[in-house]
């Protein structure tokens, strides 16, 4: 798996994004009038953050495991729905593209991690033993999952074997995923930095709200800073869950962090 230091770093980053997403999700539930789409996206953020932490520590496995299958189904469904919305132009394109790419990247990671990291398809720590009910005597028939290439049938005990080289298509696909993530997450990072700078330079005043550069956005959903470069305008309208009272800094930062975390993990897998 990953070096411990890297796993800890992933954990810190995705704990932060997960906690932030949970708070936002809770707010959409508690405040009347929040759009269902916002809830869906916050749920996506939350699930991705959890999955990334689990992946960082090897708690979940590849596509052959139960946890891997669940992730493929969940993030596959998100990819389909988001991709459809993107194609139909029913959502702000930059944000929707970013979410689509993130969901698709999750699918790619789960599907190719065993290949890229030279692991068996089992992976993870899932035990296949079942507590038997035979007379309720809790007899167990432990079946060890294949934990890796070393130790496979036919190998001498203790024989070290270098992990096999990842297939070329898996490596190429990973680079494509990295590129797409960088492309779609970069605007969020830019927005986060600009908003932070603007906040630092602005005199202390009332709350601010970001406005897309190409039009007023007082009552339009803002793409969490993804894609839209925010400028500041005052005074703010009624509190809007979709933009946050912080001028869009935290949503943009959340996107940037998640994108960066995924890029680093993909690169670490190579």
């Amino acid at each position: 798996m990953f070096p411990v230091g890297l796993s800890i770093a992933f954990t810190i980053v995705f704990l932060a994004t997960g906690a932030y997403s949970l708070v936002r999700f809770a707010r959409t539930v508690a405040v009347p009038g929040a759009a269902a789409g916002v809830r869906a996206v916050e749920l996506l953020h939350l699930l991705m953050s959890m999955a990334m932490i689990a992946m960082a520590w090897g708690w979940t496995g590849g596509p052959a495991t139960g946890s891997g299958t669940v992730q493929l189904v969940v993030f596959g469904a998100f990819t389909l729905v988001l991709g459809t919305q993107l194609a139909r132009d029913r959502a702000p394109r930059a944000a929707c593209a970013f979410h689509t790419v993130m969901a698709a990247a999750m699918v790619w990671m789960v599907a190719t991690m065993p290949l890229l990291m030279g692991m068996g398809g089992g992976g993870g720590t899932e035990a296949a033993d079942h507590a038997g009910h035979s007379g309720h005597t809790a007899a167990s028939d432990a079946t060890a999952g294949m934990a890796g290439m070393a130790g496979m049938a036919g190998m001498a005990p203790g024989t070290a074997m270098a992990p096999p080289a990842a297939p070329g298509w898996a490596v190429a696909g990973t680079w494509v995923a990295v590129a797409l993530l960088v492309l779609t997450a970069a605007p969020a990072a830019v927005t986060a930095v600009r908003t932070a700078r603007a906040r630092r330079n602005a005199p202390a005043a009332g709350p601010t709200t970001p406005v897309a550069p190409d039009g007023p956005a007082a009552d339009a959903p803002v793409a969490d800073g993804a894609g839209a470069v925010a400028v500041l305008a005052r005074p703010a309208p009624a509190p809007d869950l979709e933009t946050d009272a912080d001028g869009g800094l935290y949503p943009a930062a959340c996107h940037a962090l998640m994108g960066a975390g995924m890029v680093v993990m993909l690169l670490a897998m190579l």
């Binding site: 949970l22 729905v81 035990a127």
Partner: protein
């Protein structure tokens, strides 16, 4: 959670006189947290009950049937379980095993259970060709005459009838796939019990609070009467439901793995005797098949001399290993002492006393046996049967309450009090708990996730209706914050 958490479709916020009466605003005070949590708990209880109810109904019904099996066994298998006449002294195990071996050609002895009562038969179990996986072919031998009274395929110690009901309850006769249903029921049962209990106990009542909490209101109007039966029976059954959920999860397919890992990490596992023989010339390389009977007599005599009382099961060891003789009494007081015996010399090489088990292992043993109606005999059976009936009634009452709230404008009725929103803090707390619990109980986590996904994706892709104020909401369904 577009509707699950935030409320039902328009039109189904059914007026609920009892609930609205019971929910006056409570400004200030220490119950602010409950005001935020209660709407969420109500929705949780409603939706979990709605979707898990059928599974619980089936589990409770099959469990109810299971509670009858001890008596059915005595009727159906009377000839196999009891001797016709108690005459003289029992013959040696060697003689009885020989008779059993003749009745099960090609079998390998896996266990011998001498009778625990004077009129009982000796059970000799075999691994034999043609026997289902996890089953044994068991010959029942009259210890006084050495005559085989019956040969049955048994599941552990269960005779075929009980094994069938056991499998029905565990898997609906669908194998490993069917185990998902019991785990699903066990994973959600405690959620239903706790949410229902909190709603019922904290509910405000203007008068006769204790009586109306503990007992159903037989004279109330239909809706309130149903609710009072549902709540009062649920209150009494809550401890039992929590118990069934916890014990059921210990041998479930997915959560059971986590429970086992937890017990292992906390050193709560059930101790076992070591079958490793001490080195030396006394260690028998193996016991030939023909000597199994004679060896059984030897190891049984050794353990009895060492103070191990009946009922016991003798398990032959592999070549070069000790045999084990373990007490198998699963009713109170449990007898679970075990000894390992050198089959060559008859020397006891290891002993594990039930009294020395870790408390957690004892609790697990008692819990499993209580869940199966064994711990206190017929008292356990009556308790479990009443519990199963109570759960079945509560499920039916729950659906009846839901049905009585029809018709509604926006389709089927949603949760009661649908106009109330949970507090953000409550959602966060419940969300964190759901994540932790969902990881430990994977089936709960996956089913919750599936439920949330369907709900949230449905809400996200649905084109919302234009509001009456003419405001444009065409983007509110899109998945873009």
């Amino acid at each position: 959670m577009s509707q699950v958490l935030t409320g039902p479709p328009s039109g189904d916020a059914a007026p609920d006189s009892e609930l609205s009466r019971s929910e006056p605003a409570r400004p200030g005070g220490a119950d602010w947290w409950w005001r935020g949590l209660r709407p969420l708990v109500r929705r949780l209880h409603f939706y979990v009950g709605l979707f898990v109810g059928p599974v619980l109904l089936v589990a409770a019904f099959t469990g109810l049937l299971y509670t009858l099996t001890p008596q059915l066994d005595q009727i159906v298998y009377r000839d196999a379980l009891h001797v016709a006449q108690v005459t003289g002294t029992p013959q040696s195990l060697q003689t009885q095993v020989a008779a059993a071996t003749a009745a099960v050609p090609g079998g390998t002895v896996t266990e011998i259970r001498p009778p625990g009562e004077p009129d009982g038969t000796t059970r000799v179990s075999f691994d034999a060709p043609g026997v289902r996986e996890d089953f044994s072919r068991t010959a029942f031998v009259d210890p006084y005459t050495g005559r085989v009274t019956a040969v049955l395929d048994t599941f552990g110690e269960w005779l075929p009838l009980r094994a069938w009901f056991d499998e029905l309850h565990r898997t609906l006769l669908l194998g490993d796939v069917g185990r998902v249903y019991t785990e699903f029921a066990a994973s959600w049962l405690w959620v239903l019990a706790l949410s229902g209990l909190s709603l019922w106990v904290v509910r405000r009542r203007r008068k006769a609070r204790v009586r109306r909490t503990l007992l159903p209101e037989t004279s109330a109007a239909t809706g309130n009467r149903l609710r009072s039966w549902h709540g009062a029976v649920g209150l009494w059954a809550a401890v039992g439901m929590l118990f069934l959920s916890a014990t059921g999860l210990t041998w479930s397919q997915f959560a059971g793995d986590n429970v086992s890992s937890l017990r292992e990490n906390l050193d709560w596992t059930t101790p076992e005797v070591t079958q490793t023989l001490p080195p030396g010339p006394t260690a028998a390389p193996s016991a030939p098949a023909t000597d199994v009977g004679a060896t059984s007599d030897r190891v049984l005599a050794a353990t009895r001399a060492a103070g191990l009382s009946d009922p016991v099961a003798i398990t032959p060891g592999d070549a070069g290993q000790a045999w084990t003789v373990a007490q198998v009494q699963r009713s109170w007081p449990e007898k679970r002492d075990a000894m390992a015996v050198d089959p060559g010399t008859g020397q006891v090489v290891d002993t594990v006393r039930f009294a020395d088990w870790p408390l957690a292992a004892k609790l697990a043993r008692w819990g499993v046996d209580a869940h199966m109606g064994l711990l206190f005999g017929w008292v356990s059976q009556v308790f479990l049967a009443a519990l199963a009936l109570g759960v079945m009634c509560m499920v039916v009452w729950g659906y009846r309450m839901w049905w009585k709230r029809r018709p509604t404008r926006g389709g089927p009725a949603g949760p009661p009090g649908g106009s109330q929103r949970p507090g953000a803090g409550a959602v966060i707390v419940v969300g964190v708990v759901a994540v932790v619990v969902g990881v430990f109980l994977p089936l709960l986590g996956v089913s919750l996730l599936a439920f949330l996904l369907v709900d949230v994706l449905r809400g996200a892709v649905r084109r919302p209706e234009a509001p009456s104020d003419g405001r444009d909401t065409s983007r509110s369904g899109s998945m873009a914050p």
